[in-house]
């Protein structure tokens, strides 16, 4: 059970990819990509976790600076990643809107321009 958190993260990444290849709608594919990204956040935060009563890496009047905290570096990585991935998702959705306007369909199997 010591690796359950990492397995959940890997499961989220794989099920996101499964959703992308099985999707019939471009917006559905973009949302599944979002799920796969969430899997990477869970992996990062799980790597930084310390069991046994470690607190968050924020000190104040009740928590004097000490070393019994969870890892702050992976949290910093995950939090900027979340905000930036939202804007990249917006870019993909804007592409999907334009594809719908020009081609009339958003089914990946029917998009004529992508055929070789």
């Amino acid at each position: 059970m010591a690796i359950y958190a990492y397995l959940v993260a890997g499961y989220l990444i794989l099920i996101g990819c499964f959703g992308i290849i099985r999707s019939r709608h471009l917006v559905h594919a973009v949302v599944c990509l979002s799920i796969a990204q969430a899997g990477t956040y869970v992996l990062l935060i799980a790597i930084g976790y310390q069991a046994g009563g470690a607190s968050a890496p924020v000190f104040g009047s009740t928590t004097k600076p000490n070393k019994h905290v969870v890892d702050p570096v992976v949290q910093a990585m995950a939090l900027t990643d979340i905000v930036v991935s939202a804007t990249v998702t917006a870019l993909l959705l804007a592409l999907a809107i334009q594809i719908n306007k020009r081609q009339g369909t958003v089914d990946p199997d029917e998009l004529a321009a992508l055929k070789g």
Binding site: M1, Y4, A5, V8, A51, A86, L93, N100
Partner: protein, 93 residues
């Protein structure tokens, strides 16, 4: 690993599966917001309040809003396309 962490991880995995298996994108918008909330609970339990704040604003409010706006724009564009094609075929006939 405590029971709380294990339960939070399992709920996140179930919510993620629900989002992927929902076929219509308009249903995915709401399930995506629920998935965001389960992720926030997981991050708080894993002692990451900054990441939880970030995910709360983005995953529950902004991304589902953009998904719904995209779907409505696509409906509207599709309707207008059909209306234009009907008018064109009426003009030919």
């Amino acid at each position: 690993m405590t029971v709380l962490v294990a339960v939070a991880l399992t709920v996140v995995a179930l919510a993620g599966t629900a989002v992927v298996l929902a076929d219509a994108p308009e249903r995915q918008a709401v399930t995506l917001a629920v998935f965001g909330v389960t992720l926030v609970v997981l991050f708080v339990v894993l002692q990451a309040p900054d990441v939880a704040l970030s995910e709360l604003g983005i995953g529950t409010a902004i991304v589902p809003l953009m998904v719904m706006l995209t779907i409505r724009t696509m409906w509207k564009d599709r309707q207008q396309r059909e209306r234009r094609e009907d008018r064109r075929s009426e003009g030919d006939a």
